[in-house]
Structure formats: structure tokens, C-alpha cells
Symmetry: C2
Subunit: 193 residues, 2 copies
DNA sequence: CGCGGGTTTGATGATGCTCAAGCCCGGTGG
DNA sequence: CCACCGGGCTTGAGCATCATCAAACCCGCG
């Protein structure tokens, strides 16, 4: 089960892991199963664990005063899960994170983060992923301030077609910042072309 | 002039700098002045330099097919400037970055990034800033998919009142993803309360 | 068969955009 | 000193986009 993680670290960092390092990772990454709809994190809790998704699908979202969910992130295999802000600052999270499919993750406590960074491959990977993450977030901001609902949907089809396979439309709609009705109409239009 | 940078690094990392490290930073951070409207980066260029803003105000934005500007980031004193994606991947940027006020920055080539990270205080600062940056970007995404124009403006007043002092309204509007007319009306409403 | 989650459809209305015009105000040059 | 100019801000009318609410539909499953 940890194989997916080791492979991922090597791929991203282009650095191999010593047997000692592998042993360390085996110790601090503990396998965990999440059923569909099971919470990984709830609003108000401090996020003391990160996780690497081996198999499954998860979502990160807030719930507003009217009970409506707003999806800020969708995650699939080989993604890292956790509320970055809460983990970094140690503050209570304003998000929920739960499994949308039955999911297997490797969980690691935030207190082990420094230890992890002592492994060259992991440190390198962390820097690379962080940069990539920032780039992706900035693009999403750019899209959200400059594109229409339809344009954002078209872009999602190109950049994350997997999402459309794995999540129902009302979740995709929320991720795009529109209602499920609007998304339905956009799709209807699209097929008539 | 480098004092602001040293102070910033120490504050953020809570680690002091040796005289040798200070010397290194003096070597690789070169002062540069930018006049108002002068470009730091243009669309299509690879961003080979980062910068630390000592004094001034800058903006990062794209220009769409109709010539409209979309502000993705506003930056003031003690902020880092540069297109993260272009710097990290070495790809041509899709953004413009320019000075909105006459600005003084300390410029550092991306090729020196590894060298910089060999300084403990800088490495630590990098991790902290990166986390903070991700948290801020995620919040902005959350706001943009879940709040109305007026709510976003109210939030900006609380989180970045400085922006309203330093940038004209049409730039603030673009940053919020609305038109200057809409922002004007929102402000008009607000005063009648 | 009936239930529940997800999707669609329609009617209506709010929100925010576009285009066009006018205003305000701090320069600059005659 | 005044006229004019330009950038920024405001105001208005009309329109496009998108949200809301309500109802119906679809389909896999117990």
C-alpha cells in the first residue's frame, strides 16, 4: 500500500529513497480507510494530519449560514489532502473534508513534517508541489475573476476531465461557483453544437 | 536598502543571519528602481527574477482579447513579486507585472534560488511564506465562488484596507472580479447606511 | 413498487455588465 | 489666471447572465 507513496515521491523529486528512509516513512504514514461521506476533518477542528490519497475521491468545502456547501477543492488518487492553513498555523479549520468515494489514505501527523523534510527526496518534492499548487490556485483565481460560467466549465473539461467522471454535477457546479441548474443548462447548450 | 530585506527574513524565520550569509545576500540581491507603469515582466517572457519590494506598489494582471486587464495580485512593501508558475516551471508567463507607483525592489535571479535555500533562515522563511500564500489564495477562491460582489468588497476593506489607499477603484474592482461601475454603486450604497 | 439521489425544465427576479454620457479635479500651457 | 485636458469616478438605461424556487423526471436499488 505504501508503494504508491514511494513511487510518487521518487517520480516527483527524481531522487531515490534509502532503505532507512523507506523505513521511516513506513513508520509515520499510517494507512486509513474512509467510507463514503466519512469526515477526514470537520469545521472548527485543527487539522493535525495530512494524507496521501492511495485510492478514492475526496472533497474540501465550507458550509454557509444557509447550509449550502461551497467546494474549494476536489482530490483524487495521488493528491495530498488536508487544510493547509490549519496545518500551518495550527488554527481551527473553516472547512470540512470528507470522502466522496470509499477511500484509502496514508495519514501522517503534522508533528512529523519536520522529520519528513529531513529526507532529501521529500523536501525536494515538497518544494515542487508547493510551487505547482500556488500556480494552480492562481490560475483558478484568474479564471474566476475573468471568465464566464460557461468558459470556466469548458476549461474544467480540458484540465480535469477526471472530475466529471468521479463527481456528480452538483458538486462540479459548486466547484465552479455556479448552481447545479446553471451547469445543467450550460451542458444542454453545449450538446446542441 | 538591503536592511528591510534582512529584517524581514529575520522576522519571518525567527533565525538570525551570519555575516557571511548577509554578504551572500548582498551579492545576489540587486537593487532596482521601477518608474510608475514600468514593466517588471511582460506576457510571453520567462520570469527569471524574483523581487522583494522595499518601497512602492505593483500589480500582476493578464490582458484579455478585448484588451481588458484582470488583476490577479496587488503587492506593496515587504511582498515578493514574480510569476510563481513561470519561475518554477521556466515557462513563458501569461501575466504582466508592473509598478503602479515609483518602486524600489531588490531583484534576485531564479538561478540563485537553490543557493538562497542553503541559508537556514531563508529556507525556513520560504516554507512559511509558501504556506501562508497557499492559505491566502485558497481563501480568495472560496470567497470568489461563495460571496457576492458586495460581500467580497466588505471583506477586502477588512483584510486589505491598504489597497484602497494605494490603488484607484478601477484596479480594486478588477481585483475583485467586478467592473468599476459596479464597485462605484456598491460604495454608494454603503455610504447610505 | 416506491424511495432517494441526482438531473432537468420552466418561470421569475436579482445581480452585475455594457455602453454612453457627464462630472470632478489636479495638472499644463497659453 | 484661466482654459483645457486626461484620468478617475459616477450615473443612468437597457440587457445578459445567473440564482432561486418549484415541479417533474430519471434510474438504480432495496
Amino acid at each position: 500500500m505504501h508503494e504508491a507513496l514511494f513511487k510518487y515521491i521518487k517520480n516527483q523529486s527524481a531522487i531515490s529513497l534509502s532503505t532507512k528512509e523507506v523505513g521511516m516513512l513506513l513508520d509515520i504514514f499510517v494507512p486509513k480507510k474512509l467510507r463514503k461521506r466519512q469526515f477526514f476533518l470537520q469545521e472548527g477542528e485543527v487539522c493535525n494530519y495530512g494524507g496521501f490519497i492511495v485510492k478514492g475521491a475526496m472533497r474540501q468545502y465550507s458550509v454557509d449560514a444557509k447550509g449550502a456547501e461551497h467546494i474549494v477543492q476536489l482530490m483524487l488518487e495521488n493528491w495530498w489532502v488536508g487544510d493547509q492553513e490549519s496545518m500551518a498555523m495550527g488554527t481551527p479549520s473553516s472547512y470540512f473534508i470528507d470522502a466522496w468515494e470509499d477511500t484509502e489514505i496514508l495519514q501522517v501527523a503534522t508533528k512529523h513534517f519536520d522529520l519528513m523534510r529531513s529526507i532529501p527526496a521529500v523536501a525536494k518534492m515538497g518544494l515542487i508541489l508547493s510551487d505547482r499548487n500556488v500556480a494552480a490556485l492562481q490560475k483558478r483565481i484568474h479564471d474566476s475573476i475573468s471568465l464566464s460560467a460557461e468558459q470556466r466549465y469548458d476549461k474544467l473539461i480540458k484540465t480535469h476531465p477526471e472530475f466529471l467522471q468521479r463527481f456528480p454535477q452538483h458538486i462540479i457546479a459548486s466547484y465552479l461557483g455556479i448552481t447545479k441548474e446553471t451547469l445543467s443548462r450550460i451542458r444542454h447548450e453545449a450538446t446542441n453544437k
